[in-house]
Amino acid sequence: MKWDEFFVTGEPMIYAAMVSIVLVSVAIVAGLTYFKKWGYLWRNWLTTVDHKKIGVMYIIAALLMLFRGGVDALLMRAQTAVPENGLLDGQHYNEIFTTHGIIMILFMAMPFIIGLMNVVIPLQIGARDVAFPRLNAVSFWLFFFGAMLLNLSFVIGGSPDAGWSAYFPLASTEFSPTVGNNYYSLSLQIAGIGTLMTGINFLVTILKMRAPGMTLMKMPMFTWSILITSVIIIFAFPVLTVALALMMLDRQFGTQFFAMQNGGMDMLWANLFWVWGHPEVYIVILPAFGIYSEIIATFARKNLYGYKSMVISMVAISMLSFLVWVHHFYTMGHGVMVNSVFSITTMAIAIPTGVKIFNWLFTLRKGKITFSTPMLYALAFIPIFTIGGVTGVMLAMASADYQYHNTMFLVAHFHYVLIPGTVFAVIAGYHYWFPKVFGFRLNEKLGKWAFWFIAISFNVTFFPLFILGLNGMTRRMYTYSESTGFGPLNMLSMVGAVGLTIGFLLLVYNIYWSTRYAKRDTTGDPWDGRSLEWSTPSPVPEYNFAKTPVVTKLDAFWFSKKENTPLTDDGDYEPIHMPNNNGQPFIMGVAFFFFGFFMVFSWWIPAIIAGLVVLGTMAYRTFEQDHGHHISVEEIERTEKALRGEQS
């Protein structure tokens, strides 16, 4: 293989990216060495098994990916802003919308949610950590190195270019001969295994580690949403595992699953992809529903309306989510029967979703609404998401879908669902729980500015796409002629995209500003919260709760404040058992990274060696004897006094 086949060449933007990657890497290494932070980084972050730190790392990675995917999006909008634009060529545009999709769904939305659930869930159920802290670290590093592997494709070997859904036969070696789609199958596989493990970990955590007295129907709604999400992850991801494995076999080992000769079936890929892909949508949306439920209840100062029906509708959504995947390819030519069945199941999802919307609205009723930044996102969610929802029902009608399928109408629809749904939710959750992790609030004024930029620009960007779609503009077109009349609305959309960029930059500036100047919160409960996570001091000590809280009803912390009843019994502190940090998950992630990289290029011998290292780290794990350590009573007392000192 020649060097110019190995590295991506020919585009000034890519050279710039290469240079900046090298410079940033050098800067990081130099900085760590100069400030002697290698040991700190290794001991406190790379080897950590603490759910809060793992959560923070997830969120940092997700924010980085948000900007990577955001730049892709901006380039796409810029390219299509005017007819016959020459900013990007067809191939480059194809790679960009492909990676935009993969990164935003799998490496931004999901990890952001997983990050928030890592930080919040153990605190919300009154637990010391998750059920399997080591496995949790493994999950993170597999996600992280999977994401890095995909990003590497930008400079080495070429990015995947067959769309994020990678339909065969387009994604086969015949029509997509670069290694781009090998990156796709391998990086998603590695990250996907990590996600599956996260699902198992959180399901067991929520089922088995709740504080005494917290029955299932006394769990906070966010915990419920994560319980259901974990179930969907556990049962949907194996399908992706199989689909990606078959893709790899077809591309690199000459099998015939989706090939056109010798009996292969190209439709089967689409089928398997969406058997996973539709539940995936609910994996990113249900936690958002949970976050909004927490925030709306907190800032309306009212308990959640219709708690039971909220839970039932989430369970219903989780079951239905596995029954609707065919609506992604109504136009594949199966008969009226198949399309009708899946139309009806799809529309049925609107029923539980509608129930939730009305329950949120009635939570606001008779409330006392304060418009904090997280609450603004939660409130904006309701009207915008409803547009996404009703257009979803329109798309669910098979006959009508023949006119929407693959058009900008569809693109507008899913952005109207995913952005107010997932993205607003993770930003809201991030503002909401930020003080819990770092001990100070983000600046409200900057936060509100960012909110208005994001909320308004979002609509300016995506509403025109509905109209473009109805006017016959298909998605994934890198250019169009002036006679189509698509120009003006695309330009408007570009203006919105710039506004969104400003909003997101404000969001980041807010972190910088608040870190330097924001007032420190000493109460641990800056929003007057309702659930257990607000009962510990902020930043949360390593062991979470000095004494395990005892729960008697929903919104336990709220009632303990109102009724002045303590959350814990009077007994003395006891030593707390904690897991030890360990480098094995990180090393395993690195080994997986190299395994994936060598596999991408079909370099079998290095791949086998890296695979053996992976097995070696597993063997190490089974033979090691690590019983963790105990935090002594004196240390707990000292920590509690330091953190709660100012209060008493």
Binding site: F132, I200, P238, L249, G263, L268
Partner: protein
């Protein structure tokens, strides 16, 4: 670590109970994984392209041998766990050893079978049907192979460290895994081989 002596050793600590539940959940995911492979197989079973159909290459004898061997290994590991619960470390190790040997025999027969197929011109690249067949059988076979490595590591630990809450827990979880592979095989036996020869 609190040890609850009222429960069997493998359930005796909180951590052990979490691990057993977690593994059951993992097996739930495995059910979906194999279901997907079956879905692929059933979809492609008649799409034989220019290669042979199942009825032309399947042979009853090796398949019966594999079935009996795997069923027996599932029986012996069940006995192994029983022995572990009554504290008979030596018997337990013997049963585990027999299980692993039977697993290796199964794998040997399966590999011979694959070699025969390939000699008959039925490779994983020949047709969609054969791709899905080899992938389904291969995934099961890979699970057995991984089981052999994992089981040996556990056997070694039991020998060295004795029956502790930790080793008992690992052994029990391993037995769940092994029984599960047996269940998967029963479905392969019925719906791949017997249906194919029907």
């Amino acid at each position: 670590m609190k040890i609850d002596h009222a429960k069997p050793l493998e359930y005796s600590t909180e951590e052990n109970r979490l691990k057993i539940l977690g593994f059951w959940v993992f097996l739930g995911a495995e059910i979906v994984l194999f279901s997907t492979l079956f879905a692929v197989y059933f979809t492609l079973v008649n799409r034989t392209g220019n290669g042979p159909a199942g009825s032309h290459i399947f042979e009853l004898t090796p398949v019966m041998v594999e079935t009996i061997v795997l069923l027996s290994s599932s029986f012996t590991i069940g006995l192994g766990i029983h022995a572990m619960r009554i504290g008979a470390k030596k018997a337990m190790m013997t049963f585990f050893g027999i299980t692993l040997v039977l697993g290796a025999v199964f794998l040997g027969v399966e590999i011979t079978e694959f070699v025969t197929y390939v000699h008959e011109g039925a490779t994983i690249q020949t047709s969609a049907f054969l791709s899905s067949l080899f992938t389904l059988l291969g995934t099961h076979g890979a699970h057995v192979t991984f089981g052999l490595l994992w089981g040996s590591a556990i056997l070694f630990q039991v020998k060295k460290r004795g029956l502790t809450p930790e080793t008992a827990n690992k052994s029990f979880i391993f037995s769940l895994y092994w029984h599960f592979l047996d269940v998967v095989w029963i479905f392969i036996f019925s719906f791949v081989y017997l249906k194919g020869m029907m």
